[in-house]
């Protein structure tokens, strides 16, 4: 046996590591899918978007969500009422941020929180609502 060769024990150990990691990976693959909290956040974001998309605005000609995406002026005009509506709609412990083609509003998004989100296409561009437990 020449000195450059790998020791048989180390080879066995590597095989063992692969085996254990394989079993662990099996656990994660089998039970993947979103955790219940993400599913609930996604549903809440979707609900908020549905309500905003089916409500008329004061002085506008479109649903609140479409008014947010239409133009700079309509975004600025609709933003306060949309923010109030979202704060009323979502449960008290859920915070939100809305992103539109003309800017975003809402609470600053924490970098580590579990985020639920929904993106609604309007004819003026997509509007994204993100929610998380605050």
């Amino acid at each position: 046996m020449s000195r450059g060769q790998l020791s048989l024990t180390v080879v066995e150990a590597v095989v063992g590591v692969v085996l254990v990691m394989g079993v662990a990976a099996g656990f994660t693959v089998v039970s993947t899918g979103p955790t219940p909290s993400t599913a609930e956040l996604d549903t809440l974001a979707h609900d908020a978007a549905t309500v905003l998309a089916s409500e008329p605005t004061e002085g506008g000609r479109d649903a609140r969500l479409a008014e947010l995406a239409r133009a700079e002026e309509s975004f600025a005009a609709t933003r306060p009422s949309a923010r109030d509506r979202l704060a009323d709609l979502l449960p008290a412990d859920v915070l939100f941020r809305v992103r539109t083609p003309h800017g975003s509003f809402g609470h600053p998004q924490p970098p580590t929180a579990t985020i639920g989100s929904t993106t609604v296409p309007t004819r003026y561009g997509p509007v994204t609502i993100r929610v998380w437990y605050g």
Binding site: V17, T50, V51, P56
Partner: protein, 223 residues
């Protein structure tokens, strides 16, 4: 010399395998902790909430907008008809903490929260226009449905009724009707009849405005 090399390799191997086992167990534990432990409860609660606020549900006027009269008439057996997975289960449905339906004691069940609006209809508004003086009726924003009654006088034939230029009622032989028309809820609508200058008769437009309040719907089911 060779025996010592084997010893180093053995220590290295033991460290590798131990480390891998620790990491593996940690990963598996995390996966198990994150898994859903109450799939039946969660399924039942989700389906009750989904069916209650679906756009075509008898309890809603549109998606996520509950009808206040239907909510008041709601009880456990109606919920079961809507959502069979909740059959025989202890359940509680609340709107902003106020109980709507309660059966049994669903402690230990799964709670699903949804954002909804509750729509209540105000008293109907009746707007009549005398065709000898004018031919338009203005319907405010937020009204999706109106009843138009056309009662044309003598020497007058009204063939069309338009809502913001869109023809909603037409009869080539002359309208004499009482019909429901659908309007856009997002902007005020002008209902216009195609009456001429010397027309007589009446057009009555009846509509109901509605008020929508936001609520959080919470459904708890314990199968």
């Amino acid at each position: 010399m060779r025996a010592q090399t084997n010893l180093v390799a053995l220590v290295l191997a033991l460290v590798l395998v131990t480390g891998a086992t620790v990491v593996g167990v940690a990963v598996a534990d995390g996966a198990l902790a994150g898994a859903d432990r109450d799939p039946l409860d969660r399924h039942a609660a989700t389906s009750v909430a989904d069916r209650l606020i679906a756009a075509d549900s008898p309890t809603t006027v549109r998606a996520n907008a509950l009808d206040v009269a239907a909510v008041e008439a709601l009880n456990a057996s109606r919920v079961e008809v809507l959502a069979p997975p909740a059959e025989g289960a202890a359940l509680r449905i609340t709107l902003d903490g106020e109980s709507v339906v309660e059966r049994g004691n669903p402690t230990g069940g799964v709670t699903v929260r949804r954002s909804v609006t509750v729509v209540s209809h105000l008293a109907p508004v009746r707007q009549a226009v005398n065709l000898s003086r004018g031919s338009t009726v203005r319907v405010p924003r937020g009204v999706g449905r109106a009843t138009v009654a056309v009662d044309s006088g003598e020497n007058t034939t009204i063939r069309t009724v338009r809502a913001d230029g869109r023809v909603v009622l037409y009869d080539g032989a002359g309208l004499d009707t009482n019909a429901t028309v659908h309007l856009s809820r997002y902007e005020p609508t002008t209902v216009r009849t195609g009456a001429g200058a010397n027309a007589s008769g009446r057009v009555v437009v009846t509509y109901r405005r509605s008020a929508a309040e936001t609520h959080t719907l919470a459904v708890t089911v314990d199968v």
